[in-house]
């Protein structure tokens, strides 16, 4: 592989071929602007920019010279510090014949910080093939040179014309408050500032002037920089304006920043002494107690709520008529627009407010009224509305965001649900949770049996209650109670619907219902005992319809023959109704039945078995018991 030497020179006249370490040399053509020049000097290894103020720019124009015997193709250029230095007009993919000078490019020094700043520049190049393309990946890198500049603070001064006492022809000194004085609501006071560039280089004053206001607050101060040029040469001046247009009778403050100097601004809004709506001071307080002043031009922000939850954002407004106002002010109407916003706590309207309010304007003080505005939204999105107080209008805004937790669902170890079961409930997350969370799981039961209010056996087994707190760990896809993901509950002995509701903060509630259908009487245990002269039949079971009534008993002798009179029918509907619907019922549809039959004219021990049939609205159930 051939090694190509490159040399960079600064051209002051016709560039000469000076070989160094590459096929190119570089020459300086212009050190004041990025424009064509016919003279050049060799670019030294370290090029020093003139001292440059913040906001100003220094530039050097450089051209490459091919000092080799081969055509050189430029590919890219790079600066090691791209914050304070930049390259423009670089001849990308440009071919430079042997001995030729390539198109000039410019290196800019626009310091963003004070102090000595340095950057090195490199170029990628190759020796192209006959078609002008680089062979394979054989691009090479060479250093153009190192550029250094000293960045100094901007040297600018400020004078002003307007109400503040400092506007007297002398330079305005930082830190002294520029007071715009008392300005009636609806009126404007303006101060024109003259900025002068006393540095040795041009600067952009538009980047040096700004207005700072208190966080979260709105301001009646306004900065107008439309008359400032993009470049202000050494010794040149330009003007900008700060205006003060108070909307309420309160003290306002802001800060004018010029270059790195701060100039406090102050102005006092004064009420219209005749007493009209513009005299009123309107403040609002959020849930954390932060109080802000309502400004007509700045939307009142209710912040974020989570879509679909019961969460809402409420602001409490106070409307005050300051003591400085002479007359009472009457507010004819207060209204609100925007579907997500509602008004509450309004006084009777129209309402007249006496001029008695002291500062600060807070709810409950003399000379004030108050009311609330609530923001709530079921769907995610940004909502807007308008609060109208008399003829005053205030824009409202609020945001409803999607819940942070993944979607959740309930899974049961047994479906469909039936009575007299212990079932495990699992709370499944669609994705691993990005955050830890604690929620409340609630179970409710709605019986489908008329006149039945509840079933006391339907409970979470872990707590013997119907509510418990579940946890979701970061990265987990199940919720747990006491470390267990299986949450057991009983289904009771009453037909109806069990509903689970899971509630996490900042998340819509998750609800799912499961129905327990009516079924035939279920017998869980039975016995028949011959206790001469009686036969005692005991049956435990449940009727989840609470409609048991008709019963039938058939007795058989020890040989299996039916004993006269055959089937003995009993309608016990009234007894069951009394049992199920009395205040003493402690077990839902569960019951214990004991029936005693006297045996007349015979020996009870000769009875071998008994068949029992129980009926309810869902059908018949039978059991046969051998006598013990």
């Amino acid at each position: 592989m051939r090694h190509l030497g490159l040399l960079f020179t600064v051209c002051l006249a016709t560039c000469g071929a000076v070989y160094a370490q590459g096929p190119l040399t570089f020459r300086i053509y212009n050190t004041s602007s990025c424009g064509a020049s016919n003279t050049s000097t060799p670019l030294p290894a370290l090029y020093l920019f003139n001292t440059t103020s913040l906001g100003a720019e220094s530039v050097v124009e450089i051209a490459p010279v091919n000092t080799s015997s081969s055509t050189v193709k430029l590919i890219t250029a790079a600066m090691s510090d791209t914050q304070d230095f930049s390259v423009t007009n670089f001849y990308v993919d440009g071919l430079i014949a042997p001995g030729a000078t390539g198109p000039a490019f410019c290196v800019h020094f626009v310091p963003q910080q004070t102090g000595t700043l340095t950057a090195s520049m490199t170029v990628n190049y190759c020796v192209p093939t006959a078609s002008g393309s680089c062979p394979g990946t054989s691009s090479l890198t060479m250093t153009v040179g190192t550029f250094e500049g000293n960045a100094a603070p901007a040297q600018i001064v400020l004078t002003c014309a307007g109400p503040p006492a400092q506007c007297n022809g002398n330079l305005v000194q930082p830190a002294s408050t520029l007071n715009f004085g008392n300005v009636a609501d609806g009126s404007t006071a303006s101060v024109t500032f003259t900025i002068t560039n006393n540095s040795q280089s041009a600067l952009n004053p538009q980047n040096l002037v700004s207005l700072q206001t208190a966080q979260f607050n709105t301001t009646p101060f306004a900065l107008d920089t439309s008359k400032l040029p993009a470049s202000l040469g050494p010794g040149a001046s330009a003007t900008f304006t700060v205006s003060f247009s108070p909307g309420q009778a309160v003290l306002y403050q802001a800060t004018l920043v010029v270059n790195s100097s701060s100039f406090p601004l102050q102005g006092t809004g004064t009420a219209n002494v005749l007493g009209d709506l513009s005299s009123l001071v309107i403040t609002y307080t959020d849930a954390t107690g932060v109080r802000l002043t309502a400004q007509g031009g700045t939307p009142i922000n209710f912040g974020q709520i989570v879509a679909g939850t019961s969460g809402s954002a409420k602001l409490t407004f106070a409307v005050c008529n300051p003591q400085t106002t002479i007359n009472p002010v009457t507010i004819p109407t207060i209204s609100i627009s925007g579907a997500a916003f509602t008004l509450s706590g309004l006084p009777s309207l129209p309402v007249t407010i006496q001029p008695a309010a002291t500062q600060p304007c807070v709810p409950g003080i003399a000379g004030s009224i108050s009311f609330q505005v609530v923001f709530s939204a079921s769907a995610a999105g940004t909502y807007s509305g308008t609060l109208t107080v008399g003829s005053l209008q205030f824009a409202l805004t609020g945001q409803s965001v999607v819940a942070p937790l993944p979607a959740m669902s309930f899974q049961l170890s047994q479906q469909p649900l039936t009575s007299q079961q212990q079932v495990n409930l699992t709370i499944q997350l669609a994705n691993p949770s990005p955050i830890p969370a604690v929620g409340t799981l609630t179970m409710t039961f709605a019986p489908s049996v008329q006149n039945v209010k509840d079933d006391p056996a339907i409970k979470f087994l872990a707590t013997n209650g119907r509510q418990l707190n579940v946890s979701v760990a970061t990265g987990s896809q199940t919720a747990t109670y006491n470390g267990q993901s299986l949450i057991a509950f009983q289904t009771g002995t009453t037909a109806g619907t069990i509903t689970f509701t899971l509630q996490f903060t900042d998340m819509p509630p998750i609800t799912q219902s499961f129905t327990i259908l009516p079924e035939k009487i279920q017998i869980t245990s039975a016995s028949a005992i011959a206790s001469s002269p009686n036969i005692v039949i005991t049956i435990n079971g449940f009727d989840n319809t609470y409609s048991a009534g008709q019963m039938s008993f058939i007795f058989y002798d020890t040989k299996g023959n039916m004993i006269t009179p055959g089937a003995i029918s009993v309608n016990a509907a009234s007894q069951f109704q009394q049992y199920f619907f009395s205040n003493n019922n402690q077990a839902g549809g569960a019951f214990g039945l004991q029936a005693t039959f006297p045996v007349y004219g015979g020996d009870a021990t000769q009875v071998g078995s008994v068949s029992v049939t129980l009926n309810n609205s869902a059908g018949s159930t039978s059991t046969t018991q051998t006598l013990q």
Binding site: T493, T524, Q575, L593
Partner: protein, 242 residues
């Protein structure tokens, strides 16, 4: 027609949560925990009566809660058992090596002649003899039969498949083994039920039901066992029991 028919709330028995004794109503898998009924540090219930220990005394009570008899004792950890009628009530007082038993309307005491070879975990009585399940140092269990009249040990039988501490109810013996909760019937047949806790505490809820509590898991179960049923259910665990 039946001469007499009665509908009642089915009763399971009584369970102790801490020191609160509560009646348990309902059916299998459908338990209803009643309000606090009695206070006890230990108990044993049958269908007919119950022994409860509380505040320096052991009481024999009828199922309606009325007291049939009372015995004052400083024993801090009495072992109670009752299989059926009042005359099956028995207590083992390890501090004084004394058996307390009920007969003919009053409590009687019999001091054991000698010492038990281990720690007793269950006691039963048939009115003539006391049967204690005793865990020896290697975890094996002996059934020790004691004459209630003399206090003499009549026999000490090694129960080869049983690990202590074991609990006897009727003809069944319950214990925790490596597979789960083992239930051995009178014929030596063993049925093992899935059981998550390693530290079950047994108390008899009624003649067919046993309350199991795990201090480590803070969970309760009810075991229904008779000649045809052997099922384990979760028992509601009121928050106050934890």
């Amino acid at each position: 027609m039946p001469a007499f028919a009665q509908l009642t709330t089915p009763e399971i028995g009584a369970a102790r949560y801490g020191t609160e004794v509560r009646q348990i109503y309902g059916l299998e898998a459908n338990f209803v925990v009643g309000p606090e009924w009695l206070t006890a540090s230990a108990l044993s219930f049958s269908q007919a009566a119950a022994l409860i220990a509380n505040s320096g005394k052991i009481q024999l009570i009828h199922r309606d809660g009325t007291v049939a008899g009372e015995y004052a004792t400083a024993e801090s950890a009495p072992l109670l058992g009752i299989g059926g009628s009042l005359n099956t009530a028995i207590a083992w007082l390890p501090g004084s090596r004394t058996l307390l038993w009920w007969d003919s309307g009053s409590f009687h005491t019999t001091q054991l002649a000698g010492a038990l070879p281990g720690v007793a975990s269950s006691v039963q009585s048939d009115g003539q003899e006391a049967s204690l399940l005793v865990t020896v140092s290697n975890g094996s269990v002996l059934r020790v039969i004691v004459d209630l009249n003399t206090g003499n040990v009549r026999s000490a039988e090694l129960m080869p498949s049983v690990r202590g501490p074991a609990f006897a109810m009727g003809n069944f013996i319950l214990f925790r083994n490596a597979e789960g909760l083992a239930v051995e019937d009178g014929s030596g047949n063993i049925r093992v039920l899935d059981f998550p806790a390693a530290d079950p505490v047994f108390e008899q809820m009624s003649s067919e039901w046993v309350h199991l509590h795990s201090p480590s898991l803070k969970q309760d179960w009810a075991l229904h066992v008779n000649s045809s049923v052997c099922k384990l259910w979760l028992l509601p665990s009121p928050e106050f029991s934890k």
